[in-house]
Symmetry: C2
């Protein structure tokens, strides 16, 4: 694990609905090896799967992809919604994207990115005889830090986290809470060679074959952490507004019934 | 930018307070080139800078490093605090860390990671005659996703974001909101070869020399985004509790004065 090569595949043209991505990857002439991990920009998978929607229907499409709104902000008359989408990802505009698409069209994320990754990995393993892994990447912003990084939204045949719990650090102490999300780190590394504007949607990461495994390993869906474990399940403004309304109602009730004092927010459900 | 090599430097021993990291890196025999980016685990910088604190003083140390508590959770009697620290980073335990430290000791983050990176880059440029960049990395959790990834908390001579605003996508449309945080992606790529338990605290990323520039480029402090732009400046529970208390007080006031109805949280400051 001390050296990694990361290279983009050249010669993959514009992807059209119905295209066979595995065939396009193999047609580049890349000589895959056991342990190679291919990182494929999810956008080209969306294109091959014909996930196009008319740009006029963008807001409806975002709403359709949204499970719940996490936070939103209106600035200069434009409302930006950060939502949890049907894949459990928390993303601006639910991951619906208009860059690198034909005029008048936008692209939804693949219907089931883990299934798409698995189909691609299966094809590539069969065609090459090599045990390769596949990640689908997308570009996500994050709280508290400027800009975006690429993360894995689909995975097949790759350990998405390197669970170090129980292993020892350099000084012999247990690395109790360290669970590197290697799938996201691989996606980030691949973005450094793919870029956004260069027409290079596929990269190979070579040198971490220890992370490649069977095709029934948990997919990228297992990276999602929402629900009760999520300390940031709601934006600060939204949570505060919700608490305010609850507190206001309780204050009214309490004023009408002096024996009741439920001032503490602990009383709210 | 189509191929990257990422390799860890072997032979850097245990780092002691006062050690000269630049000399230790050069002593590995690495032949640096123009455009190389060195990613150094911030922990070894902390060690060289003698940022040790007694483990008994851990809670006090976290408090001292904390600017404000963003969220906290108590489970099994143990309270985990996610705080904004003096560097603007939002991190569990303020980034105070006990792994890979001698028994009985913990390590604070470097006092000024950008300054440490700059000092190291200056030394390495002078010694080698090559224009190299330096990042200091740390391991951070993130909302909504399992596990941690390495990010850049110090930077010198490296463009920390690749600002694509104004550039065109593959289809000729402007990439209006895309600002890849390449420093964090470089740190993530380096983690894939350094690991956590392997005693390999320094990696070289070769192949993105276009990101290397003058030593007075903005450091990793410029990656921090807190304040009004931060939709998640407070954990959901904390924000809700704050809103509840404000709403409760407003409800009491309103009940005492029927002419006032400030039910909407918009009225709260």
């Amino acid at each position: 694990m001390h050296e990694l090569r990361v290279f983009a595949l050249e010669g993959i043209g514009e992807v059209q609905p119905g295209d066979d991505l595995a065939a396009m990857i193999l047609a580049t002439g890349v000589r895959l090896r056991d342990g190679d991990i291919l990182v494929v920009t999810s956008k080209v998978v969306s294109k091959a799967e014909d996930r196009y929607v008319r740009a006029d229907d963008r807001e409806d499409a975002i709403t359709a992809e949204t499970v719940r709104v996490v936070a939103s902000r209106t600035r200069n008359g434009h409302t930006m919604r950060i939502v949890e989408n049907r894949l459990g990802m928390v993303a601006a505009a639910a991951g619906v994207d208009a860059s690198n698409t034909p005029d008048g069209w936008i692209l939804l994320l693949p219907l089931d990115p883990d299934a798409s990754a698995r189909a691609l990995a299966t094809r590539l393993r069969e065609a090459t005889g090599h045990r390769v892994g596949v990640l689908l990447s997308d570009t996500l912003g994050r709280p508290w830090r400027v800009g975006q990084t690429d993360v894995a939204i689909g995975a097949a045949g790759v350990h998405v986290v390197a669970d170090l719990r129980g292993t020892l650090d350099h000084g012999g102490r247990e690395l109790s809470v360290t669970v590197p999300c290697v799938a996201d780190e691989l996606a980030a590394a691949a973005d450094l060679v793919k870029g956004k504007a260069s027409g290079l949607p596929v990269a190979v990461v070579r040198g971490r074959g220890d992370l490649v495994g069977d095709l029934d390993l948990p997919g990228a869906a297992s990276i999602v952490r929402t629900g009760v474990d999520d300390l940031f399940r709601l934006g600060s403004d939204e949570a505060r507004a919700q608490g305010y309304d609850e507190g206001y109602a309780a204050g009214i009730r309490s004023a009408g019934d002096p024996s009741s004092d439920i001032r503490s927010s602990e009383g709210a459900s």
